[in-house]
Assembly symmetry: C2
Homo-oligomer: 140 residues x 2
Amino acid sequence: MSETSLPEILRARGLRLTAQRQLVLEAVHELGHATPEQLHHAVREVAAGVNITTIYRTLELLEDLGLVTHTHLSHGSPTYHPVGEDQHAHLVCRDCGAVSEIEPAVLAPLANGLAEERGFQLDIGHVALFGTCGDCGGAK
Amino acid sequence: MSETSLPEILRARGLRLTAQRQLVLEAVHELGHATPEQLHHAVREVAAGVNITTIYRTLELLEDLGLVTHTHLSHGSPTYHPVGEDQHAHLVCRDCGAVSEIEPAVLAPLANGLAEERGFQLDIGHVALFGTCGDCGGAK
DNA sequence: TTTCGTGCAAATGGTTTGCACATGG
DNA sequence: CCATGTGCAAACCATTTGCACGAAA
């Protein structure tokens, strides 16, 4: 359900299996969508010495290997999440900052429309939609 | 068709009308969607001494006044564009980096769906959709 | 052993802040 | 005049890079 086949994938490319790489991948799975800094914290709780630089380099690698992706949820840092099974897009509330996920099905019609009319291949896993969530919209 | 009512809006708030504020607003209208840095360049061509700091502060102000908004088009800097008339969303190609606009109508069904099912009020002008554009997708 | 990965420190790029001077009202 | 704006320089924060040491194969 997690830890895809990191060892094999790495070996297949002649890359090395290291504790850091395993830990970062685990953290991405655990945290869902997390920034490099958040992942750094998570990893540090297990292995104190790991440097933030390594987090960045490892995320780049894992993304290259197709094991994780990142999305830009408004403001600063991108957030990373595991690739695979559960493709999902994000709804971001600009008032309270809450992030929720939506199933790709919701975007399917839009994706099809864009593909037909413009030949644009929508990357659903990368979609972040901004607006006001129910709680903020109703209350405020 | 441009230069809304900057002077009045400012006066209404007891703020001052300055050359810089006019220039930044004009630049936003001219450039469409531009990063702070691009706006800085544009403004400098007219008034050489304007500092990048002022661009940032002015953009924040103009956004606060409801005259401009910003969108995060993937990577680094946000891009600013005038608010009003032509609300539009963006399509960003992750291969070639091209940015194109789509009419809000395309997103209307999605927006309605989200509103009904989740009470989420989609901010269409803020939407950036990532994927592969026709040129890159077909060719590659 | 040999190459790849990591930690560390410094460089970078974008954005923000503090402060004194300039200027609009 | 007086308060707000601006320019400048320095501070910041996230991310990247260079280099020498440490570790996987």
